[in-house]
């Protein structure tokens, strides 16, 4: 088919995303065919989320998604395993240090538990 040739079709591809609850991010579900986004949205929920909770649905024309190409996926998603400094893993020795000073480490579990404390 010629470059940029225009044809009329009922079958445009839409990618469907949904959110399960207030805490969850939008998750890609699947794709469907529809002539426009209104019809796509009218069909999306019952095609892919019949048996799960859903609080929001997004449809996006596939043409509007710039995703990695096959090559980019291969080349851009690889990383060296030397990023401990970004994670708590690189700071594990602190636990021992604090113990010596008779203190507990403020780890992820501890810090995230503070949402309860803050309310008091």
């Amino acid at each position: 088919m010629a470059e940029n040739e225009k044809k009329a079709t009922f079958y445009k591809t839409y990618e469907v995303f949904s959110r399960k609850n207030d805490k969850s991010h939008a998750q890609h579900q699947f794709s469907l065919l529809a002539p426009n986004e209104e019809i796509a949205l009218a069909m999306a929920q019952e095609n892919f989320m019949r048996r799960e909770d859903v609080i929001d649905v997004w449809v996006v024309a596939r043409d509007n998604i710039r995703k990695m190409t096959s090559e980019e996926r291969k080349q851009w998603t690889k990383r060296l395993d030397n990023k401990d400094y970004r994670n708590t893993k690189g700071y594990g020795y602190l636990r021992k240090k604090w113990r010596e000073k008779e203190q507990e480490m403020l780890d992820e579990k501890e810090i995230l538990s503070w949402k309860e404390v803050a309310r008091k």
């Binding site: 009922f10 469907l32 065919l33 529809a34 426009n36 209104e38 019809i39 949205l41 009218a42 069909m43 929920q45 019952e46 095609n47 019949r50």
Partner: protein, 271 residues
Amino acid sequence: MSLVETAEQAKQDAAYKEALVEVLYQLADDDFIISYRGSEWLGLAPHIEEDVAFSSITQNTMGHAMLFYQLLEELGEGDADALAHERISNERRNGTYFEIKNGSGTYLEEPQYDWALAVVRNYLYEAFKKVKLEEALKSSYAPLRNTADKVLMEQPYHLGHWKTWITQLQDSSQEAKERIQSRLDEAWKQIGDAFELGPKADDILAKEILSSSETLKQRWLDSVKETLTYVPNGDLASELGNGRAKEHTDQLDQALATLSEVYNSDREAVW
């Protein structure tokens, strides 16, 4: 009229109960027959994705019919399955427009079904159902209020779905426009009885079980006029008869024969 809280309470006033069951039969039978017509469409919709979405609506609608049959069951009218399967056509109270076939042929052979009829009928039905259920929220019968409230939770998706379809088709190609318009003309001639309250209308109003036929009709007209770019001239008519007074077409008989074929082969058996 003070609130009637339970089925037991309703049964103590014979006139109240008689009027109440009329309303419940209307709600149950409407949902049941429209859902039956929807189930015939399964596998035959214009588009696979739509087939799947449409079927969810059909299932939900049958679920709603079940809720209303259960209210009748509580009032001693018989069990929900018997109410759905055993009653012959002149015991049914559904609006006649909702019972007509999806097109010529049957779902098994030569189903010359018309998507314009599906879109127009389902849209008009869901708009009507919303009005009727919203009025039922004010009913003197508390269990009806509660059920109406529950059904209204998932019904907006149904109305939204069909509104999308009719909105898109009514202003698209010339052919689509004509098909939609001629189905609207047909609907105007056949949907009139849906707004009736049947032989117990006076009691239904006096006992505040539901609002008047005029209210239902006016609210419905106001709502569909906001969506439809073409509204047929003239008053609504009931050319197929008055379903609320148990008058029906032979198309309902055909539907009942099909939907109860297995059930009737042995009513005592467990299926």
